[in-house]
């Protein structure tokens, strides 16, 4: 299955809803999307991963890249993820310490820490 992407603005946050497979083949599309948002001045991103079926390290790399980009503008990148399978991948790579991970979009858009 391919990657699907949609964005929505909620207050000062931009929610990127991702669906399908984020892998070595589709990750470039996600990277483009994140780069474009930052270039357009969206520095507070929420990536909603609830619709993601598959995530590999290329996808993780793109998310880390996105985080670096928004941080260069004092921004934030928060994830929404409750799928154990996906959370495990963040855990084994130590990235749960790098990304704030929320259990709902509502949580993520209102978070401020």
């Amino acid at each position: 299955m391919d990657l699907s992407l949609s964005t929505e603005t909620v207050g000062d946050r931009t929610v990127v809803k991702v669906g399908g497979e984020i892998d070595v083949y589709t990750a470039p599309k996600l990277r483009e999307q994140l780069v474009e948002l930052v270039n357009d001045g969206s520095y507070h991103l929420v990536v909603d991963m609830e619709g993601v079926d598959f995530l590999d390290s290329t996808g993780l790399g793109v998310l880390v890249g996105g985080l670096k980009r928004v941080r260069a503008h004092e921004g934030s990148l928060r994830l929404v993820c409750t799928q154990e399978r996906i959370l495990k991948i963040f855990r084994i790579t130590g990235l749960t310490k790098v990304f704030p991970i929320h259990s709902s979009v509502a949580d993520a858009v209102s978070a401020t820490d």
Partner: protein, 136 residues
């Protein structure tokens, strides 16, 4: 001989094919359903890494995935044809890449798979992984 062997030109789209084949053959060989997701991910990581090595090195050739159904283990070997490049890449930090994919890839593989060896053969790097097989 491997039960099933797949060779593909180093393009990202074929990594999906490798995942698909590995999971289908493993399931059929009797690998437990509960680890198929991890197996699929690990094979994808090993193949993505191999594709990346070929692409960074501007190499042609093929990535090889050998699936071997032994008595009690299902063995997957992923070999690149990147020669000595595969060593360089494993140790160097690629600063231009977002988040150093190669390190993340290996972290995923070693985090997921209990039995894994990262080594080499004549052609280049070779990642060997295995999973238990349920008696049929």
């Amino acid at each position: 001989m491997a039960t099933v062997e797949l060779r593909f030109s180093p393009l990202p789209e074929h990594v999906r094919t490798a995942r698909l084949v590995a999971a289908a053959v493993a399931r059929r060989a009797g690998v437990d359903e509960s680890v198929l997701d991890e197996l699929r991910l690990a094979v994808g990581e090993a193949c993505s890494r191999a594709v990346g090595l070929h692409q960074h090195g501007g190499l042609g050739g093929a990535v090889r995935v050998a699936l071997t159904d032994q008595e009690k283990r299902f063995v997957i070997e992923v070999g690149d044809g990147a020669g000595t490049l595969s060593e360089l890449a494993a140790s160097s930090e690629d600063e231009s890449a977002d988040g150093s994919d190669d390190t993340l890839g290996l972290a995923v593989i070693t985090g997921l798979v209990e039995d894994v060896e990262v080594g080499r053969d004549e052609a280049g790097g070779l990642i060997r992984m295995s999973w238990p097989v349920q008696p049929a």
